[in-house]
């Protein structure tokens, strides 16, 4: 059950061009609404904008006796630009934790597939897997790579791909997923987050190798709680589901990738 809370910004760090990591004091929100890695926050971005901005949780937990949430976001428009100008000590009006995260079980062996700003939500999955996850991370170019150190520490293996080959191998995340599965397809599931074409590619690869795959989807969103039916995604069975309430994580097989 989501709650609304004024969360204090306790740490702020630039992690890439136009990309920021915020640590928010979470109070009772974590204990009351946490389901698993991959949930999101719906953050009010100033009084002159009607709609909140949905931002995935990167990590959460307890530090020095206080519950915290960390988010990583890219400045994409006016709302996120406003957000990037908040300073430590400011409070943010937050609805959270929203949605259902990745379905993960202790002891599971997970292949994480992240592209660009879709990488941060997978960090919670890496932490959950306690050092046993394998990650394939893709970025447009070396200068846009984020969270490399945290992933290196939290995962057994990390394979990097860039569109231009300026970091890791040249290619796409789906190429990396195929390369991993070629050698070893004994994974409990692939957990993927990133742009839709990337997710489609990863879902195809997962299908080819017969490995279960969960994808975290994005859609333009209004209420964030399932009331307005704005953030619809077409499912393979012809029905509509909603990123905020049914997702953001879906089984790759239930998504209509041709919609």
């Amino acid at each position: 059950m989501p709650i609304q809370r004024d969360c204090t910004l306790v740490a702020k760090r630039q992690v890439g061009p136009n990309t920021w990591q915020f640590t928010l004091e979470a109070g009772e929100m974590l204990a009351r609404t946490r389901k698993g890695p991959g949930q999101f926050l719906h953050i009010a971005c100033g009084h002159s904008r009607l709609l909140r901005r949905p931002i995935s949780v990167c990590a959460c937990g307890e530090a020095e006796g206080a519950a915290f949430l960390s988010i990583v976001f890219e400045v994409r428009g006016e709302g996120t630009a406003w957000l990037a100008h908040r300073e430590v000590g400011d409070t943010l009006d937050v609805l959270g934790l929203l949605g259902n995260g990745f379905a993960v079980t202790p002891g599971g062996r997970y292949l994480l597939a992240g592209g660009g700003i879709g990488v941060p939500p997978l960090y919670g999955c890496a932490q959950f897997a306690q050092g046993k996850a394998t990650a394939v991370l893709g970025f447009r170019e070396a200068g846009r790579a984020i969270l490399l150190e945290p992933f290196a520490k939290a995962c057994e293996d990390v394979f990097l791909y860039t569109d231009d080959g300026s970091l890791g191998k040249q290619g796409y995340v789906a190429d990396g997923v195929r390369a991993v599965l070629d050698k070893d397809k004994n994974f409990t599931a692939i957990l993927a987050c990133g742009p839709k074409p990337m997710l489609r590619g990863v879902a195809e690869a997962a299908g080819e190798y017969g490995v279960p795959c969960q994808v975290s989807l994005e859609e333009r969103m209004a209420c964030g709680v399932g009331a307005c039916l704005g953030c619809a995604v077409p499912m393979a069975d012809g029905s509509m589901k909603h990123v905020c309430k049914d997702g953001p994580v879906f089984d790759a097989q239930e998504v209509d990738w041709n919609a």
């Binding site: 709650i3 333009r220 209420c223 709680v225 509509m240």
Partner: protein, 308 residues
């Protein structure tokens, strides 16, 4: 000072206060019921219903606009029968008025739905003749007076003793003409305004943001249009009005009442702040108290227009 009487009567239905979340912004109440007690509301308009289930429009369905938003949800709903079976019992157990919003492809469909909902015991039926996001029916019934009258008559003929409120579109040359056609055809109340048709374009891709190209504009940006239309209709038609469009605060609600509304709808403001309706009820009470208003219904139509 005695307590302020917040209750109002809309087409014979007593609301404990004038604040009502509007159709399409509040689902069937379940989601926002997680944030506050739904019994704090005067009533609630449920998500627009159709005779058969509808999947709605393809995404994207949402685009932000300056102090507002566009939507093209397209009446996604489980159908009137599923609503009556699965959602209504939970809502009827609450001490708040349940207003069912309906859209039909034909006048006969409006009649069929009214019969079902009246028998199921909803407190009021809101006849949507103004949805901009569906191809058949919808907006056409709200822009042509003779069609609006036909739908209203059909609804009234099948609604039994359940009051019928007709929801008007702002996408017309003269809203008073349509309002009169609904009134003459027997409507018990009017609700206005539905969303204004609008559009946004991504300059990089040259594609409209909405997959349906256009959608309905709501949010604080439309409040002045809504106030003007409520004022015009209240001045010309002797029916109670559920005034809606851009109301976000108690002060906005006071303006809406003064313009001529008997009750006040709130919609997109809830997306920004789930507690907005509760805050509006409290704020309305405080405003009345500080202005020596004993009963909120005294405000209806209380605007003092300049003589020109």
């Amino acid at each position: 000072m005695p307590e302020v009487d917040l209750s109002v009567t809309l087409a014979g239905v007593r609301l404990k206060n004038p604040i009502v979340p509007v159709s399409g912004t509040f689902g069937f109440g379940e989601e926002y019921g997680q944030f506050f007690d739904l019994e704090a509301l005067g009533g609630l308009c449920v998500k627009g219903l159709t005779l058969h289930p509808r999947n709605g429009n393809p995404p994207p369905r949402i685009a932000e606009t300056p102090m507002g938003m566009l939507n093209s949800v397209g009446l996604q709903n489980p159908g009137v029968d599923a609503f009556i079976a699965r959602e209504l019992p939970r809502l009827q157990a609450l001490d708040t008025a349940v207003i069912a919003n309906i859209s039909g492809n034909t006048p006969a469909e409006y009649g069929q739905m009214c019969e079902k909902l009246s028998q199921a015991g909803v407190d009021m039926i809101e006849v949507n003749v103004s949805c901009p996001n569906v191809k058949a029916g919808g907006l056409a019934y709200g822009t042509r007076p003779e069609l609006c009258a036909e739908v209203t008559r059909e609804a009234k003929a099948h609604a039994g003793r359940t009051p019928v409120m007709v929801k008007l579109s702002p996408n017309v040359t003269d809203i008073v003409t349509i309002a009169k056609s609904a009134a003459d055809a027997g409507a018990d109340a009017l609700s206005l305004i539905n969303t204004l048709r609008g559009m946004r374009i991504d300059p990089e891709t040259r594609r409209p943001i909405l997959r349906m190209n256009t959608g309905g504009l709501s949010g604080p940006a439309v409040l002045p249009v809504a106030l003007r239309m409520v004022w015009e209709v209240h001045s010309a038609v002797d029916l109670p009005i559920l005034g809606m469009g851009g109301v976000a605060t108690a002060r906005d609600a006071v303006e809406m009442l003064l313009a001529g509304a008997t009750a006040v709808g709130m919609g997109s403001a809830i997306f920004a702040d789930p507690m907005a309706p509760v805050k509006a009820v409290e704020g309305l009470e405080n405003w009345c108290e500080s202005h020596g208003i004993a009963a909120v219904r005294e405000l209806t139509g209380g605007v003092k227009p300049w003589e020109n």
